[in-house]
Symmetry: C2
Subunit: 345 residues, 2 copies
DNA sequence: GTGAAAGCGCTAACAT
DNA sequence: ATGTTAGCGCTTTCAC
């Protein structure tokens, strides 16, 4: 393993010059620079992180924290975000240290060891975490950036999904296809992301001047699983047998909806159109494949790393909140409304 | 942030003494030791990793590599292994650096940056990776340990699932419940893990003296997905309408099997018993919940980290291969064979 | 049993 | 434009 000394010797300069060249200081003559770079290549020199860190008092690491539940979720959502972060970190020469915390983190839990041992320069938090934990981290005076969660103390740079816009987009898409009696189903409605999707739905319906009532939505499931999607679809159809389209607050629930419809012999999209939200792998292997609103998970990871990089440069540089935009993906589970006219009484 | 100097001053000793105490050298008097430890606690001193690494030429990091496909799999398999590794790493004061490689890693791909930059002391490989990549890593003279993959050059310490035993266990369980006409379905049969499960099935059938033929198994699906499980179940029942139990090579396929049976109005377990392999979250929300063979993912992560720790201590210490044992989990998708007697002609 | 001191690889202030 | 040097926090050898 070549060191700065080896390079200096090879290029016949001092180690300071080598350091300067590595850091692209412009007060080195082009010739010297060239010579040094040649030596660096020849010796395959990579500056030692330990040496650097020792003098810079930085670790070169960024912590990435999420709850165990989120990490082990069956749909790869946070794992994709992580991948984006890890990728972007390369541009800033940072390494990402991933760890999970228990979902019920409390007074008795201890913080991730990379915080206790001060082996990171900043923390990225992904998804909802107990706010008690954030309070604890706060004490360590580390830059914090958050992705896909809006913490109660909203003083942090955050990357969020533009859920409201997504809700509008999905609903408008159905409206454009002539649907009027549009059902909405959700679970965990108090979760800000879910609630915003619901709001988007209502806004689009209102804007289009479409009458809708409580019999148009079922939002009382406690969680957004396939199973609950199945149940919610059942409830919805019992409530309102004339819906021609269903907007599920996420793909998991949409999958449950489709399963229910299939069992009932209701054809998708011929009899009822279905649209989801998220864009997960499973959408593609459905029959028909599920139309949905794509959430750019990987990009969210990139964005939050960018925020972190800003913070790392200058602790108070940013309190930016970024809303990443979503995109409609039409795959075949939505079609033009088949003129099933609801007769007025 | 307290340094060794601060501690030395506080305890009124030299920094060398502090270092000795930290490393539990026994040539320090108990009294001094106590005094130093008190100072360490008081100042909340944690030895700086950078300082340590600089002198030890170690990074204190271990790389964890898996393909992107595996990381993003919908069932949390490798993520659980990672969690086990990360947990165990604490005992050895190592940090785990997670990264993915493209599944089609080839001559044009570059190794993970933590290898190129020598920011790790060893590499753990999880799941099947292109053997070309292993060859590349080989050049860096890093200790390598592998979990859930048997590489062509079998010279590495490895942690594997005892698949054969699991196949036997599952099949014997069905046999004990009086089943004789037992179907087996699989995909990706060339994968060693899958093949071994199949072998276990055949061994148990043979050992019990049960006749079975090619109409007992469908193993030509190319991948072990739910969808393929559905298709394989269909094929199997067309081939052999008298099966009273189906052993699916993994839970994903078993779930597909159950879906098919449900659609056909075949009751599980009343008409046909079903057993899977792996033990994934989704098993529990099935109706009935799926009986299966549990693979101890978390423990596999722990085991591979232990192997790595041995290697890290002494490069040539071990070429151990560890077979982790599996365990039958009976949940309700298997029942006693309902005496459906296959009449001899 | 304890301390002094060298040196790991690097950066940056200062000197030339 | 380039070199000299101190010092980051630690381990370890050697001396006392």
């Amino acid at each position: 393993m070549a060191t700065i000394k080896d390079v200096a010797k090879e290029a016949k300069v001092s180690i300071a010059t080598v350091s300067l060249v590595v850091h692209k200081h412009n007060r080195i003559s082009p010739e010297t620079s060239k010579r040094v770079n040649k030596a660096i290549k020849k010796l395959n020199y990579h500056p030692s992180r330990s040496g650097r860190r020792l003098v810079s008092k930085k670790t070169g690491n960024v912590g990435f924290i999420l709850t165990e539940d989120h990490f082990l979720r069956s749909e790869p959502f946070y794992t994709r975000i992580f991948l984006g972060t890890e990728f972007e970190a390369r541009n800033y020469e940072y390494y990402i240290l991933l760890t999970t915390i228990p979902s019920d983190y409390n007074e008795k839990s201890h913080l991730p060891r990379f915080i206790l041992e001060k082996n990171i320069d900043g923390v990225i938090i992904a998804g909802k975490v107990p706010s008690y934990m954030i309070d604890q981290i706060e004490k360590y005076d580390l830059p914090i950036a958050i992705v896909d969660y809006y913490p109660p103390s909203n003083e942090y740079p955050v990357v969020l999904i533009d859920n409201t816009s997504g809700g509008i987009t999905a609903t408008q898409f159905l409206i454009k296809k002539n649907h009027k009696n549009i059902g909405f189903i959700a679970g965990d409605i108090d979760h800000p992301s879910i609630y915003d999707r619901f709001r988007g739905y209502k806004m689009a319906m209102d804007a289009a001047g479409i009458q809708f009532s409580e019999s148009n939505y079922v939002v009382d499931e406690n969680y957004t699983s396939r199973e609950n999607g199945y149940n919610a679809a059942k409830k919805l159809l019992e409530l309102n047998n004339d819906v021609t389209a269903i907007f599920a607050c996420n793909d998991a629930m949409a999958i449950g909806v489709m399963q229910y419809l299939k069992e009932k012999g209701i054809a998708v999209p011929k009899d009822i159109s279905v649209i989801g939200f998220d864009d997960v792998e499973a959408d593609l292997s459905l029959d028909p494949p599920l139309s949905t609103v794509r959430v750019p998970k990987y990009e969210m990871g990139i964005e939050v790393m960018k925020l972190m990089a800003e913070l790392l440069k200058d602790k108070d540089s940013t309190k930016k909140k970024i809303l990443v935009s979503v995109e409609l993906i039409d795959r075949g589970s939505v079609t033009v409304c088949s003129e099933k006219i609801t007769m007025p009484a």
